[in-house]
């Protein structure tokens, strides 16, 4: 058995082992990798950055712990940017296990706001984030399509109270806030097909500015909506999150993982090339031996 036949019969667990070694070694050594920011990510950052203080940004958290790796960094970067700029954030959760994700993100980001930080050369003083004033978390309701449509009429229809049981009318931030007309934009961070609903039933029906942050698996399928202008920005997977962190000058878990991504991808490409060489060479040999 020569090297090419061995390649074709290689136990896939060797691939897993090599990949684990590459990931662990590159993660163990901290070194920076350049991050190229794409226009579709910059569009979201610029939009949020241009909003005057007091505006409301709606951030639906539509992902489960399974998508946390890619989408949590997006949420952290965007929400922290909003709160540093004194914008208000309206959270919803239209995925079953998303309330836990939203709750965790709110607590963590609130804590990070308690210390003074400098982003892109601007120093932001510490501040206390207050529920009902700086943010409102509407909570979870099933059937995202119906919920998105009814929020277009009035947030109080599907959510008479917030996630913590407080009536919306008694929250200062919700005074005079009826529906999507009163929010600057919607940035849907989603690991489910709720993005489709936000595009069709939300933006398509009510015409508000919509941007999305999605998992790597579903990024490619949403680019047509960016091309057609139905969404004004798109963040794809951990790469999109790292680009946003880079723009916000707020390095987090996504940027921390990009060096691993780089070398893991290089190793996978090498394996693909090797596998193809093995396939074509052994195929040619089989042909030649067949002729003999």
């Amino acid at each position: 058995m020569d090297i090419f036949e061995r390649l074709m019969k290689l136990d896939r667990r060797w691939v897993f082992l090599f990949l684990i070694i590459v990931c662990v070694v590159t993660y163990a050594f901290d070194f920076p990798v350049p991050i190229l920011v794409e226009p579709e990510v910059k569009a979201i950052f610029d939009f949020v950055d241009s909003l005057p203080p007091g505006e409301i940004v709606m951030v639906p958290i539509d992902y489960d712990p399974g998508s946390l790796a890619e989408l949590h960094p997006m949420t952290y970067a965007i929400v922290e940017q909003c709160w540093r700029k004194n914008l208000k954030v309206l959270f919803t959760a239209l995925s079953q296990n998303a309330p836990g994700m939203a709750d965790q993100a709110i607590r963590d980001i609130s804590d990070s706001l308690k210390v003074e930080k400098e982003y892109n050369g601007v120093a932001y003083p510490p501040r206390e984030i207050v529920n009902g004033e700086d943010f409102v978390f509407l909570g979870y309701k099933p059937y995202p399509s119906i919920i998105i449509l009814s929020m277009g009429q009035n947030f109080r229809l599907p959510f008479p109270t917030d996630y913590y049981g407080t009536p919306l009318d008694s929250l200062p931030m919700m005074k005079g806030v009826q529906n999507y007309d009163d929010v600057a934009c919607v940035i849907d961070i989603s690991g489910t097909n709720s993005t489709d609903y936000w595009i069709s039933y939300g933006q398509g029906r009510y015409g508000f500015p919509l941007a999305i942050g999605v998992t790597g698996v579903s990024t490619a399928q949403y680019y047509p909506f960016y091309g057609s202008g139905q969404i004004f920005g798109i963040m794809g997977g951990m790469l999109g999150a790292a680009q946003y962190e880079d723009l916000a000058d707020n390095p987090g878990l996504a940027k921390d993982g990009m060096r691993v991504q780089l070398y893991a991808h290089m190793m996978i490409i090498a394996f693909i090339i090797l596998g193809n060489i093995g396939y074509f060479v052994s195929g040619r040999r089989a042909k030649v031996e067949g002729v003999k």
Binding site: V24, E40, L68, Y201, G227
Partner: protein, 274 residues
Amino acid sequence: MDFTTFLWTTFAAFLTLATFSFLYKDNPFYKIAEHIVTGVAAGYFAILLWHNGLIPKLVFDRLEDGNWYVLWLDSSKPWYLIPAFLGLLMWTRFSMKWQWVSRWPMAMYIGISAGIAVPLEMSNRVNKQLYDTMATIDWANFLGQGSFNLFDVQSGLSQLIVFAGVIAGLVYFFFSKEHKGIFGGVATFGIWILMIGFGASFGFTVMARISLFINRMQFLKVWGLEAFNAAETPNPGHSAFYQIFFWLLVLLVAGYATLEIVRYAKSSVSQTRK
């Protein structure tokens, strides 16, 4: 991190390693992790649905006296009875004799969903995409904003590629004419365009999978630091417990690995004898 939190985090670390053990082969640790995740997710969702869906819509807690009241008997919302009744009809699925009744709420739900979905989906996922495909080629911005940029999706070149790709892709799926000559060439271009699309999706999928592994490494790193830098935690007195739990975990995994190696060695010896 207090001791209770650390206990749960340690359990999460164990579940992480147990899940990854499947990469070697299916084993009891993986089975335990799989069943726990499925059970916890189902339980969590059931409770969430109960408290976020059913209770606020059908029942409410009158805080003044702490008693529970059925909404439609106590308030001005008697029409809530209709969805409640339809919801109850769903339970007839469990009776062979009466299960046909459950088709009524299903029909109602599917009818409403279709009525909402068809015009909006048609408008936003078909018509708007068609308009974009048929957009006038932007010759003034043919190569991208400022300088040549192949990845500018709004450049004239991108619009031209999208237009040609859509036509060629549709030609590939036209099977009423043999793929020969110019028609065959266009179909071949179509399959190349499709392959580029699938390749982009696959590349993103690989990135997503690596991302999941990176996140688990980040989690294990934090957990490891917590275990070994116990003196820096708010409860340095628990340092010994942290160490014990960590080494118990290592012992458990090492024990299983040893068992596997012994089993493998035994099977190799028996195969050699044959």
